[in-house]
């Protein structure tokens, strides 16, 4: 397990840099910003120690926050997403087909359950993120949450193809 932990610590700066310097500059329809960094939290194996997952999510969220100027938004959303991840995975992923150290990618858990699993998590993350950011709720924000979820999901589906092992 410690091997995977070290691997994820390696991956943190890579995804952080991609998020800050590439994706934060890309905008769809003037206000939709994809958040690719969620993929690393989503595909982490189910049996990753909870304490590591929480500390990792908090650190990651805080770093993204610092670079985007509003403290506490991403870290709150990430922590909530991570804490409900295990219960969502129980509902959506058939447990007998994966091993403890397997990453939760399409190749391992199947396309249908991956799409369902990741979309639910991304939606929850984005809902918390935008509600905190705008500190209000109306129809426009709902639209923003749904469209952002869609675009982040698509980008995550594409990116997780790179995690395939032949």
């Amino acid at each position: 397990m410690s091997k995977t932990i070290i691997k994820y610590i390696y991956q943190l700066p890579i995804f952080l840099l991609i998020q800050i310097y590439v994706l934060n500059e890309i905008l769809f329809a003037a206000y939709i910003n994809p958040y690719l960094y969620l993929i690393i939290l989503i595909i982490m194996p189910i049996k990753t120690p909870k304490w590591f997952l929480l500390i990792y999510a908090f650190t990651f969220g805080l770093l993204i926050d610092v670079f985007s100027g509003n403290l506490g938004i991403h870290s709150t959303a990430c922590l909530i997403m991570v804490i409900i991840k295990s219960s969502i995975s129980k509902i959506t992923i058939p447990h007998n087909i994966i091993e403890d150290t397997d990453e939760l990618i399409m190749q391992k858990i199947g396309a249908k359950s991956f799409i369902l699993f990741s979309s639910i998590l991304i939606f929850i993350h984005h809902a918390i993120l935008f509600l905190l950011e705008h500190a209000a709720f109306n129809f426009q924000i709902l639209i923003k949450i749904i469209l952002s979820t869609l675009i982040t999901s698509i980008i995550i589906y594409i990116t997780q193809l790179f995690f395939y092992k032949v």
Binding site: Y21, N24, L27, A30, Y31, I32, N33, K50, W51, L54, I55, F58, G61, L62, D65, V66, F67, S68, G69, N70, L71, G72, I73, S75, T76, L79, I80, I83, L132, E133, H134, A135, Q140, K144
Partner: protein, 266 residues
Amino acid sequence: MQNLLRFIRMYNVLIIFLFFQGLSINLYLNSNSFQNSVALEHANNYKGKIYSLTNNINEYFQLKKINKQLLNENTKLYNLINSNNKNSIENIKEYKYISSKIINNSIHKRDNFLTINKGNRHGVKPGMGVICENGVIGIIHSTTEKFSLIISILNKKSAISICLKRQNNYGSLKWNGFNYKKANIENIPNHVKVEIGDTIITNGYSTIFPSGINIGIVDSFKKNSESGNQDIIIKLFTDFNKIKHAYVVESDESREQLSLESLKDE
């Protein structure tokens, strides 16, 4: 004691979660008064350094466009010199401009900030206005030695006092948080005749911006009988997605005006 240890061991995940969640919510609530967060102040300096590095590379690919912009501006300035001598009553206040490069920018968040590469050392102080060749950008929020942070007009906290060029009515500019090309105007009463295409400019009352700087044109308007004020949506002249250079507006006389006006409060 043993029970306590057992309790901690049983609920360690929950305890870690609540600890971090409390920490991040605390950060969220406190960072509303942006300047207070010490972490950001420090991070700003490092961020400035990193962003200016990547910006150097970025800039190289846009030399042609920037050249064109500068040329346009030059001609504008020449025209200004010629017309400046004529209306000496209007230009009571004198303004100095500090040119700067924008090294970080955002448009997709609810509260957007920009960073420029001029700071304390170059005479930039919090509260100064920032403009570009097309229009208004925002107001300086805080400065470090070499960098300063601007609250862009695409921010929930920014409110810039404006006036309609044709009718001379005063209002304030707000941004509702979605489209970076549009903004809202508040406090224009229902009886004022507004037309689509009217130009919105800064008014000279505020000590931050010189009067008559373009902001945008009216895109749509609706009379609101509840508040008695019209809901006006304007199209901004400044394309926040493309700006590269900015000018910080500095005025000694503004400080004088402010100190005079503060006398009446005492």
